[in-house]
Symmetry: C2
Subunit: 342 residues, 2 copies
């Protein structure tokens, strides 16, 4: 019923040559007469033959696929604006090249190492993306041990055997703080992400450093978890301070939008009573009321660059250079305003 796919032997028979010649022709190996190559390619075309990935995988020991392990709570993951766009960028590279993306979602509680181990030992992928870098990230040692090529999203501290594709968050955070300072704010608070993550501390550190340059320090520094629920909690605590901050900078938009809700629920008007800034420029940032001042990066380009770099590494010709992408930039909207000292 279902017509079997033609194999390389069918093509060889039709072109009147051996299997080996077909393979050579397809892979553009030298040593075949041009006329023969043409004949083979024509035969392949007529039969609609495409080499079997499985057979190729076995004989050349490659998976023709890249892997992404996302270690997050489904709930947390659920409204993360980064990954979908990042993945789309990766895909745009893989779909040329005929590669596939293997996704693995590991719940925060589960054994994350097992996820990478499975991808490696099953030979599912030729390399992986290492996202959400942590301090002293154990995955770097694990991947080296497994011999699985990888690319890190941003640079881990310490030495790493893997190339890094970097999109610096800090300039955006510096801009946020300078923007608030320029608006006259002096009592600025911060809701940070979990300090295990490199990007969370990078954002916090940039904020603190920029304030310090102005001779200030945060009037409140809440460590939260990037979730909306966490953002609400942190905001409540900040608003309960004896000296309320006049501006709160959040480490991501989800916490910021939730914080915006919390402030409004507490009877405050944003930005008149409180300025709020987020980070990510997620889709809703523009459309909540008031529109959220935030920081925009380009996760799609991040994905493209990471995929290209990982492929270079896998193809293994020479050293692979780190890639530096344009940094995240400030986007000013209505949630931040000049401080009216009442």
């Amino acid at each position: 019923m279902v017509k079997d796919r033609p194999t390389i032997a069918d093509v060889a028979a039709r072109a009147g040559v051996s299997k080996g010649s077909v393979s050579f022709a397809l892979n553009g190996r030298p040593g075949l007469a041009q006329a023969t190559v043409d004949r083979i390619l024509a035969a392949a075309d007529e039969l609609g033959w495409r080499p079997s990935n499985r057979a190729r995988s076995l004989s050349v020991s490659k998976a023709f696929a890249l892997g992404l392990v996302i270690t997050r709570d489904p709930a947390v993951l659920s409204s993360d604006p980064f990954f979908p766009a990042f993945i789309a960028g990766v895909e745009s590279v893989l779909s040329r090249g005929g590669q596939a993306l293997v996704l693995q979602v590991v719940s925060a509680g589960d054994d994350e190492a097992a996820g990478y181990r499975r991808l490696a030992q099953d030979g599912r992928v030729d390399g992986v993306f290492l996202s959400d870098l942590r301090h002293e990230d154990p995955r770097i040692g694990l991947l080296r041990e497994l011999g699985l090529p990888a690319v890190t999203l941003n640079r881990p501290e310490g030495s790493s055997p893997f190339p890094a594709v970097c999109l610096d968050d800090r300039p955006g955070m510096v801009e946020v703080v300078e923007h608030l300072l320029a608006l006259g704010h002096r009592r600025i608070a911060h809701v940070a992400g979990p300090p295990t993550f490199v990007h969370a501390t990078a954002r916090s550190d940039a904020l603190v450093a920029t304030l310090a340059d102005a001779g200030l320090e945060p009037v409140g520094l809440e460590v939260s978890d990037f979730t909306a629920a966490g953002g609400i909690e942190a905001t409540r605590r900040l608003l309960a301070l004896p000296q309320r901050p006049t501006a709160i900078v959040y480490a991501n938009d989800r916490m910021a939008i939730a914080g915006l809700g919390a402030a409004q629920r507490a009877g405050l008007t944003v930005p008149d009573d409180l300025s709020i800034a987020g980070f990510d420029d997620s889709e809703l940032a523009e459309f909540v009321h008031p529109g959220l001042t935030t920081v925009r990066a380009d996760p799609y380009a991040f994905g493209e660059a990471a995929a290209n770099t990982l492929n270079q590494l896998i193809d293994g010709t020479g050293e692979v250079a780190d890639v530096e992408l344009p940094p995240a930039r400030l986007v000013v909207r209505r949630s931040t305003a000049r401080l009216e000292e009442s």
Copy 2:
């Protein structure tokens, strides 16, 4: 340097048997003496042998992977609360079983059929999930033609050769409307999703039908696109009506939250001047101000059920029954309130 993985031949040698016997032992085939099986398994264990996926793929013509093609604009996809949770549910099934999930993101503009064709012809996957069903969905015919097993998320209209895993949105929408009616609302408007999608029209139809049961019809019916930007636009038009609606029901949370922002920007107080309801119960729904009345489904369970059903279909033993999941249910928060006729 990197020690080669042991192969089945190594195990056979160590156990003093042939490759075939090892294969039999591993797959629990009858016909081997128990003592031999034990010896083989012990040898495999000592060598830390795991059969190569690639070799198995080639010889049994299976990929041991399932595919999900997401046909959306990265921008639109970026804050969709459904897929991440759905994928996590799928993963929870696949990670037992040693299967992998191959993800493909196709931009709305691109050739979606090519995406499925690639997955099928490359033999990357043994089956796919068919999400975001459309009316007269061309993918059903395509997949049948490709001979690729599939499971549809919800039931397509017309006959389908594939089992369906269903999570009915309509009861939730009925509840929303009844909730609003009970609060005294009579001028109810709706912002629908693109009518090409089955789930979009299912929601709209349920709303219209429930209003009709009460002898009413929507005072405004805007067709939008599930994005925040679209939600804003639709809301503006509805609020500009000569007879403003007292309640707006949105086909998803993103449009609803954006609509909430638009209403507030227009100087309205929600829910005093306008009640608003969403659909999805996305993470932010609870935390915006006021908290969004919405409808909650369980995309994680949806993913689990879909993966199990697809695997049953692939293993091909007998007919596979459709699965009916608990329907989406109303979640009441502060964005809807009793109509105060002023």
